[in-house]
């Protein structure tokens, strides 16, 4: 107990160690593996990202020059970011929020 006294005083006057999440959002740290963002100007529809993705979250439609990304199937490993030779995937620095619907994001040239 006496050894914890310092902690008790610190906790009484200090800031809480946690944040009240849905009301107060913590700033994402630099380098957070966030949502994918395809820069279609750089993409040449080579489908490397689709072949690499371990959870089959990316579908490339080469004829339509379109990429679909299922953000709820994605495991945010960013293997696709490393696989893309044209550096066309420019991920955002954010934390994907939960949603009521499983959205599929579409990127078009």
């Amino acid at each position: 107990m006496p050894s914890f006294l310092g902690n008790i005083i610190e906790n009484l006057f200090g800031k809480p160690a946690t944040v009240k999440y849905p009301f107060e959002k913590p700033e994402p740290v630099p380098g957070t593996r966030g949502e994918l963002n395809f820069n279609m100007a750089k993409c040449d529809q080579c489908q490397d990202c689709e072949r690499t993705c371990p959870s089959a979250a990316i579908t490339v439609y080469p004829e339509e020059k379109r990429i679909e990304w299922n953000s709820f199937q994605c495991i945010y490993c960013h293997a696709c970011v490393r696989a893309c030779m044209h550096e066309a995937i420019e991920p955002l620095i954010n934390v994907e929020a939960p949603d009521y619907k499983k959205r599929v994001k579409s990127f078009e040239a």
Partner: protein
Amino acid sequence: MSNEPKLTVIPFGPQHPVLPEPVQFQFYVDEEKIVDVLPNIGYIHRGIERAAELNDYRRNLYLCERICGICNIIHGQTYAGLIEKMTDTEIPIRAKYLRTIWAEIARLQSHLLWIGLFAEAVGFESLFMKVWRDREIVLELTEATNGHRIHMGTTVIGGVTKDMDEALISRYQKDMDKLKKEMDDWAHVFRKDPAFLSKTVNKGVLPKKDAVHSGAVGPVIRASGIPQDMRNNGYEAYGELDFEPVVYDNCDVQGRVLVRLDECYQSVDLIKKALNQLPEGPIAVKNEKFPDGETIYRTEQPRGEVFYYAKGNNTIHLERVRIRTPTLPNIPPLLGMLVGHDVADIPAIVHSIDPCMSCTERITDIKEVA
């Protein structure tokens, strides 16, 4: 009427406030004393091995990292090590050091998690919160490294994906010192507090001989006086860091607490040492070949030895994958530890092996119900 005492059966789990893991034990008790224990596992069998056989071997890395949340870094490294061994890929020395540093980070966060949960299981709730707050230091480091608090995801077959720059290295050094200071704040409670010791000393005794015969691994066997630790084999950079396993002769729950506590200090020292002698060079090589032949690979997870086996046939698929995680061999010794103790000691003893069921479930038994 027979003279046999009438035994009461108490089911513990699969949903139980003490244990966040779905495992069931049936305790046969005579009054307060445990006479026999029957375990029942298989509640969260996910067919990981089958999935790994159907997958492209390169994608399996991400599957293996997700076998377990807490051990994800070491699972990934073990799978990558296995494939590198099968394809004769020698990873660069800097990658070996980085993997070692991150494996120790994983061990730190797992042991701190366990120490907190154990403190809560024996009734020390404010200690639990203090330990978990200090664990945040480690989680924030993980996040600063590669952008995720738990899933570091830095491993690839042939090396690592991320290098450490000067700023990150000095942050690691600083945070390790800070963590050590914070740990000094509460470590003595686990070593000396009489209320704590009354719940752990001479509880769940596993004599040296039984530990060997029942095949215990990890901190459980090291607390019974056997220096069995896969890091002794010197995989990754452990061979160059003068690694010595932490061993205690207590053979009881207190011994397991002390092993994990000392391993936290050891991890801090290993990380600092590896950072100090971090060699320069590339961090990854390309592996050109498909896996072929049969190989096993073993590493030390926070809970003990993890064993991977794979059989390749020179294609992108593996013919057979077998994964044995440390909780499975620790269940038989646990049954022996529990017999003869009071019902009130169950939480402390079950917790002392640090069960991680989602790692373990490779088999399931489906019973037909009439």
